[in-house]
């Protein structure tokens, strides 16, 4: 009984993905056929071939990967370092600084897009890939996770290193970073996915086609007349594949979410 309900619900949830994938392998005449075929009668790669031939797909892929990889590296460094400083620091007003980070958990790009646009423009980052990287490298969710994780790191490790004569830099590099591997792994995976899926920032920063990311290209493609549907569907399928691979590989990390309780070193 329970299993039957769950399976029915799962099938319902997966219909859009299933239908998009099968349709993307249909020829244009078969897509508009009535009644529709569930599986393509003849598998056609027309849509896929055309997005490589006619749109700059490889360029978009390169742009998106460049943005996602570079910003992930910076995000991991910023969050781990901030988390360590705020969790193990001895400076004054530490709680105030932590609170400032927590408050911004509420602030998203959709809300601040106008001033963000102005700042990005003033920094001369409009219509450049760095304009997608630099404003996005700090993420409140990642920072918050790092703070929680670092709080659970036992002080004894740091103390004993100090007794052995290590200075602050050595403690960070030789003790804290190795102990933070699980944190670093999940920050990296989440950050990559966020940047890959991002749409709002590219929408306000990028103007010229050569700098489009995959998501922006997919959105723009739909707005144009005369783009065949099988190309749009093939493009959608391509745009979800990388996150699908990452998701399946690191399923457990995702399901636990970035909740601090789920992360133990």
């Amino acid at each position: 009984m329970r299993k039957t309900i769950v399976i029915i619900l799962a099938v319902l949830f997966m219909i859009p993905v299933f239908w998009t994938v099968t349709s993307s392998f249909k020829s244009m005449s078969e897509i508009y056929k009535y009644p529709p075929t569930i599986f393509p009668k003849k598998i056609s790669f027309e849509g896929y071939i055309n997005i490589f031939k006619q749109s700059n797909f490889m360029r978009y892929l390169y742009n998106t990967l460049f943005v996602a990889i570079i910003s992930t590296i910076i995000t991991v460094f910023l969050c781990v370092s901030l988390g360590y400083g705020l969790a193990k620091g001895t400076f004054r007003h530490k709680d105030f600084f932590t609170e400032i980070v927590v408050i911004t958990l509420f602030v998203t790009a959709q809300i601040i897009m106008v001033p963000l646009f102005v700042i990005i423009k003033q920094l001369g980052l409009m219509d450049s890939l760095w304009g997608l990287i630099i404003p996005a490298v700090f993420t409140p969710t990642g920072a918050f996770t790092a703070i929680q994780y670092m709080k659970d790191l036992p002080d004894e490790f740091l103390e004993s290193a100090k007794v052995d004569g290590a200075n602050e830099w050595q403690i960070f590099v030789k003790i804290v970073i190795p102990l933070s591997k699980p944190l670093i792994a999940s920050l990296a995976i989440f950050s990559f996915t966020w940047r890959w899926n991002d749409f709002v920032l590219p929408l306000i920063v990028i103007n010229s086609g050569k700098n489009f990311t995959i998501q922006l290209a997919l959105a723009t493609l739909q707005g144009q007349y005369g783009i065949p549907l099988n190309e749009i569907l093939a493009f959608s399928v391509m745009s979800i594949i990388p996150t699908l691979i990452i998701f399946l590989l690191f399923q457990n990390l995702f399901m636990k979410g970035l909740s601090a309780g789920g992360l133990k070193y």
Partner: protein
Amino acid sequence: MYLKELKIVKNRFIFTIPAFVFHFLFYILPIILMIVLSFFSWDLLSPMKYVGLRNFSQLMKDKWFWNSIIVSFKYTFLAVPIIFVVSLILGVLLQEEDRFSKIMRVFFYWPYMIPMVAAGTMWKWLFSRNFGLVNYIITSMGFKPVDWLDNPTLALFTIVLVQVWVLAGFMMMLFIVGLQAIPEEFYEAASIDGATKFQKFWYITLPLLKNTNISVITLSIANCFRNFTIAYIMTTGGPGYATTVAPLYVYQKAFTDFRLGYASAGSLIVLLISFVIAYTVRKVQEREIEGGKI
């Protein structure tokens, strides 16, 4: 070099500086700038002009701005209860740590990982009037095809459905964590007293989930109230202004009409409203907890 002797190194403040530079530039400064800009008139080309409260007084009279706020409220308050119920049901059904549950969770969580642009594209194809799968099923059962995205009332329901599909699996995980934290003894005691399954759920599970409920509701509200990607992709706000949610209206004012000051004032109001909703939900729930319902 005496870098390691510096006070900010010794008290580890230096580790927070790189992150706080970015935090200030792209989180704190935008909020300050948004407040400042909302008192100016600016089209990016001519110099900024101070206009006092004129943006706000114009917003008050802007019929379509208020319409977009109402659309956002409808969108949010339609989506959040459905998300809550669906994800609670999924959570209850999949709370065990057996193989079956672990595998099935993936199918419900995955929509949350799909880029929202792709999600909107897929659903648009499914709901397409003449060639969509949904209308095919409906017509083959002898009904007339439905204008899922072209009918002003229905279009909002359709994008709400997609929002539910995106968020339900994520919220399901919060419920699973919450459900697993309830001690077995509570249920055992109730069984001895002869409680039915439904009674156990109503009198034990739901009240003990209070904290999870707060998180699910607050997070859902925040996510729905600010989302404009689904509407942007599926309907671009139409037909007419039927699905123009507030963030989408603000986006259009800023980047189609180039009224940056006006748009800033609008976003400020949207930000304040979402703060007020989140705060109210939290207070109401906290009062219920203190009120001895647990």
